[in-house]
Symmetry: C2
Subunit: 363 residues, 2 copies
């Protein structure tokens, strides 16, 4: 059983393969190519659990593996430099391939590295988290973080292939799986009411990691994202919808220095709730719709209690972080809000006070 999705981006098009045991397909792909060397970039956790499997699939190829620290801190200039230099030391050439093997952090870092080593070499994504399967491995956004905000330094750079092997998700800790689910839910909320309904009816199966259900929700998520990205690779328009919940999320992540106290998906869960609230406050959705969204987020077990994450939030700081959002232009605040469940819109020129009002409510 496997599904294949095409991401259509002209000469940068590629495929996403989704299925249990799908990693074994990698060998077929590589034997059709003529790469001189393969550089795997992975992190400590994934290396412990799954690197042996990847190495066994790649037996016979000239391999080098670079293992970075796990966690958001790895999306830094320091790790970028260290990893680039480690790879360059191995006499990499333009026919070399990078494989990003891990979650979103590894994908973002390794993709960025692939885009700038020798001004760009080929790379593949082999995501091992739900978040990476449905979000960061699709669409070619790569990045590291700045002192002044998340993902502020990076590139648009497309992989040659994405392989989502569902087997890797079985070892994913419950908390991380749940965080990844936030991004799945996002697709339902922003553009696919039917998908939202499916999620609402199958929440239990999803969290039992039923293979068939996993395959269904990852495929649907990737299809949704691929459709949006194909329309707007460089985020000049519709792609901004994928940032639903993210403008809020980034302010909290930023304030916590991207610490493990709040995973990205958890922040997105809170952010989507706040975006729904803002949509309601501005009269775009009614209270009933807001309640449906809120209940679903609660049922999914995502933590929406900001006070539990940190006792005292500095509201002024949070507002400050808002202005570093990449969507901010000429000091104009932009949010992605809902017109109904399954339909998001870009809302420009939102007053800072609308944000403060919701923050005050939530704290």
């Amino acid at each position: 059983m496997n599904n294949e999705i095409a991401v259509n981006l002209g000469d940068k098009s590629y495929k996403i393969r989704i299925g249990a045991g799908e990693i074994n397909h990698l060998r077929n792909f590589l034997t059709q190519k003529n790469y001189s060397k393969i550089f795997i970039i992975t992190d400590e956790n994934v290396a412990k659990l799954h690197l042996a499997k990847l190495h066994s699939v790649l037996q016979g190829f000239e391999l080098t593996t670079t293992i970075v620290a796990s966690g958001e801190q790895t999306k830094s200039f320091g790790a970028l430099e260290k990893t680039c230099e480690e790879i360059l030391q191995q006499n990499i050439d333009r026919k070399s391939l990078i494989i990003a093997f891990g979650g979103g952090v590894v994908g973002d870092l390794a993709g960025f590295i692939a885009s700038i080593l020798l001004r760009g070499i080929d790379f593949l994504q082999v995501p091992t988290t739900l978040l990476a399967c449905v979000d960061s491995s699709v669409g070619g956004k790569t990045a590291i973080n700045s002192k002044f905000g998340k993902n502020l330094i990076g590139s648009f750079y497309q992989p040659k292939l994405v392989i989502c092997d569902l087997d890797f998700l079985q070892t994913l800790p419950a908390r991380e799986f749940r965080a990844g689910y936030a991004e799945v839910l996002k697709y339902g909320l922003i553009e696919d009411k039917k998908f939202f309904d499916f999620l609402d009816q199958n929440l239990e199966k999803i969290f039992l990691k039923d293979t068939k259900t996993l395959q269904e929700i990852i495929t649907k998520s990737c299809e949704n994202k691929a459709r949006i990205v194909s329309q707007d690779e460089k985020e000049n328009g519709v792609r901004a919808l994928l940032n639903f919940g993210h403008t809020f999320a980034h302010t909290f992540e930023n304030e916590l220095n991207y610490s493990n106290d709040l995973l990205h998906g958890e922040a997105v869960g809170i952010g989507m709730l706040m975006a729904a609230k803002m949509s309601q406050n501005l009269g775009m959705i009614d209270y009933a719709q807001f309640e449906i969204i809120k209940k679903h987020i609660e049922k999914s077990g995502l933590n929406i209690d900001l006070k539990q994450i940190r006792k005292n939030w500095d509201q002024k700081n949070l507002v400050g972080h808002l202005y570093k959002d990449k969507k901010t232009e000429h000091k104009n605040l932009t949010f992605i809000l809902l017109e109904k469940i399954g339909q998001a819109v870009i809302k420009k020129g939102v007053d800072e006070k609308e944000f403060q009002k919701i923050i005050a409510e939530m704290l």
Copy 2:
């Protein structure tokens, strides 16, 4: 008097304007645009000599200036991080503009920064050296250096406009001007015999910095480069010809850690002589043609005495650096060589011994 050259790269096309006082055109360009902020990146030397002029042209715009250290050392991860963070601290947004104001080092660094800040914002090149006017400001190559080689980390990223104001060249030290000339000569050697003859006949006027002659040679150089780049933006083919002399040059620069003892253009001068010699050794050009090239390089005053630059070169190290060249694929050495003056070709699979033979002769 000004010349305008179009670099045709589809939706990434841009113009190069060349002339005395041409910087004043910048205002016209900017008033047609709607940039939120302008970030100038320049170095200490250029800031001292010409920043006041640029600031006066840009009066009324929201400006921030970042001054980096002069010299190749600035093309480092350290300077990249520092400059990125300095700019991000100023609440840059996607409608911000970066102006690279300086020589090749500033252009390479600032262009790379523009390509990765917020995953890419607009930038302009205002080159202030002959080298930057004829080489690094055209074609969209941006880069920093690795411990393991020059320009190994970077991107292909096109400016929105290049302004070569000849007035800036008047303050350029003779040594730097001469180094820049090496790249001018390169265009004659690799694809334009008529241009080579023009250079051979006008060498004196060139080094007197006669404005009309400068305009002529910069325009011709940019036209030559623009033509090649338009055919092959990402260096998959013909663009490699622009590396004539560079594979040799990089080994010396690398061995000297890019020190000021050997400027890039000086290294290219030596490299072109060696490439000509290799072409002769392989029977591609005859001795008479080699002699014409050698005499011209001598007349131009470029230092070709390797022993004067460093007493003892480690030949083994030099060979080692060769293998880090970006053109090296599957351990195959590739050189750009001449079939005649005005016609270069890509020569793959050259034996390492050919390199060693010439090195031995030169030392």
